[in-house]
């Protein structure tokens, strides 16, 4: 097998999710090439970082001012060109918002499915088939699906929390090869602007500890004064339930759940979150889960430590003030 991994970066820094995708691609047991696209400001730096990644066979890169933002309409022709008459057997990416937008568009043009959000990969070279597991029904069931040899190029996106990120290796350096960009005349879609929420805390997607708050935290101010000090003590990222985001307590980028971020930290603390299926889908693979809630614990997986107290707000504040 020969996998093409869409190695994403934001302003020159490789996305953690792509490093997990790389690990999954390596498990196919063959060659692994990374594809880096972007404008001239960032590509070279990312290529240098990528060359050091453990287990990569080659680095492909393509530079164009059109690639400054990952527009699916503009990237699809490049993928098509790369995949035509090539040795690639798999196209792999993180389950990121931009890869999710691009890969299915490309796969459809090649008459192939895209298998989303896989949590395991196994390739059988003798039958040229690949078997994946992936959560369905918001993680309440796990499907095992096989892409048979009849699908010549198998597309899949990788759930970051299921694969350790590929580390860098000093001294390692693989061949880098430039790919001519495919200019799209008059693209049907134009990028206007991107707004990324800034935070000094660890990134929610990769943090080893997460402290999340729900609607029970009443308002944005209480959310902040309750969660942030606790998160600071623990060195944790801050998360939020969909209800808390919808009520305006927290930014949308902090949402944990089926439609937000999927996290699996060492420690997940849920404060004032009832545990809707939607939310559980985003955190149930966490190692140690702590729920602080007055409601009955039946919604949560059973092993959690839980305080069922009527004076919930009081407990929240106390938790915050406790000297760790």
């Amino acid at each position: 097998p020969h996998a093409l991994v869409f190695l994403e970066h934001r302003k020159g820094v490789i996305d953690a999710g792509s490093l997990s995708a790389l690990t999954a691609a390596k498990q196919l047991g063959g060659q692994v090439s990374a594809l880096i696209v972007g404008d001239s400001e960032h590509v070279n730096g990312v290529v240098e970082q990528a060359k050091k990644l453990q287990g990569l066979t080659s680095v492909l890169h393509s530079t164009s001012s059109q690639y400054a933002e990952p527009l699916p309409e503009v990237l699809t022709p490049l993928f098509e060109k790369l995949l035509s008459d090539s040795s690639f057997t798999h196209v792999v990416s993180a389950t990121s918002s931009s890869a999710k937008s691009v890969l299915p568009r490309v796969s459809a043009k090649l008459d192939a499915p895209t298998v989303s959000d896989v949590t395991s990969v196994e390739h059988d070279a003798s039958t040229n088939s690949t078997t994946f597991t992936r959560p369905i029904y918001a993680g309440n069931a796990i499907a095992t699906v096989k892409a048979p040899s009849a699908i010549p190029i198998k597309f899949f996106t990788v759930r970051g929390t299921a694969f350790a990120p590929t580390p860098s290796e000093d001294g390692a350096s693989v061949e880098a090869k430039e790919v001519e960009p495919v200019q799209v005349a008059d693209p049907p879609t134009q990028h206007i602007k991107t707004t990324i929420a800034k935070s000094d805390r660890p990134d929610l997607g990769v943090a080893s500890r997460v402290v999340s708050g729900g609607r029970a935290l009443k308002d944005a101010k209480t959310f902040e004064t309750t969660l942030y000090p606790l998160a600071d003590v623990l060195g944790a990222a801050v998360g939020a339930s969909r209800a808390a985001v919808d009520s305006g307590y927290a930014d949308n980028s902090l949402q944990v759940g089926q439609t937000g971020k999927v996290v699996a930290p060492e420690l997940y603390m849920a404060l004032g979150i009832s545990g809707a299926i939607q939310h559980l889908a985003g955190m149930k693979d966490s190692k140690l889960i702590v729920a602080v809630n007055k409601a009955s614990p039946h919604n949560y997986p059973r092993e959690m430590y839980l305080m069922a107290h009527r004076t919930r707000m009081h407990q929240f504040s106390k938790l915050r003030m406790l000297a760790w």
Binding site: P104, A108, T144, K146, Q190, A236, Q258
Partner: protein, 270 residues
């Protein structure tokens, strides 16, 4: 591009019948799937898509949004969700009927079906200008159909939309998209495929009179053969299992006890 200055929009809204979001699903003993003898309803993201189409008509006016057509592909019971779409404001519907026992069609086959329907609508009066659909279905959680359709058609696409603003004069749509860590705005030329995210709107309920009226709205029935689409799955589902159960754990009575337990588990201050 149309020659006339006043652009009339025809909106197609694909909807999927899925196990209701409130149902606690159970894997069947044969491990071939889940127990489907439970309440079904319209995929929640598709409800948002229907709502958005109706809101566009309310904002732009009925003279601009000429038609809103709902379409579904599935067994006989799928007609129920078409009636739901009609009751909240879609004008007409198409049911691509599959046998009761048929496996759920894969996203690529669904995209090809939609492509065939759009081709069938032609380039004239009933030309489709906009497809609005959910970003994913809450059963298979694949989230790829809209992108596949846009690829097959070569149209612009705006996934995970949280705001849609149409400039019908220019033939453009500005869409705010939810992306990892924030938001993004893109300007798409019509025709466009838009997939909906949660925050786009809050779907309305159908009123009883409108539910009654919806029964008289037209539902066209087509067969896969009519559209020339093959629904044979490309992927093979080997099995469906329960996720691993978590064990251990317990309840603590006080914050002090909780913190003690956490320290015991090796959680220290950063």
């Amino acid at each position: 591009m149309r020659p006339s200055a006043a652009r009339l929009l025809n909106i197609l809204v694909p909807v999927k019948r899925a196990v209701d979001y409130s149902v606690k699903i159970r894997v069947n003993p044969q491990q071939t799937g889940i127990d489907t003898n439970v309440k079904h309803s319209m995929n929640p993201f598709d409800e948002i898509a229907v709502e958005e189409a109706i809101r566009l008509r309310e904002t732009l006016g009925a003279s601009v949004v000429k038609s809103i057509k709902a379409v579904t592909i599935g067994p006989p019971k799928s007609v129920d969700i078409l009636r739901t779409a009609l009751a909240v404001g879609a004008d007409s519907a198409v049911h691509v009927a599959l046998p009761e026992s048929a496996p759920s069609p894969e996203p690529l086959a669904v995209a090809k079906t939609l492509q065939a329907l759009i081709k069938k609508a032609g380039d004239g009066e009933s030309k489709v200008d906009m497809v609005i659909l959910g970003k994913q279905a809450i059963d298979d959680d694949l989230g790829v159909t809209g992108q596949m359709l846009a690829g097959l058609l070569g149209w612009s696409q705006a996934t995970f939309a949280s705001k849609v603003e149409v400039d019908e004069g220019k033939g453009e749509v500005v869409v705010t998209r939810e992306i990892d860590g924030g938001g993004e705005e893109v300007r798409c030329k019509l025709p466009v495929v838009i997939t909906t995210d949660l925050r786009l709107n809050e779907p309305r309920y159908a009123s009883l009179p409108n539910i009654m009226k919806a029964k008289k709205k037209p539902v066209e029935k087509l067969s896969p053969e009519d559209l020339g689409v093959d629904y044979t799955p490309q992927l093979e589902t080997l099995k469906v299992t329960e996720p691993p159960k978590r064990v251990g754990g317990g309840k603590v009575a006080s914050v002090e006890e909780l913190v003690a337990k956490l320290k015991e588990a090796g959680v220290t201050a950063a």
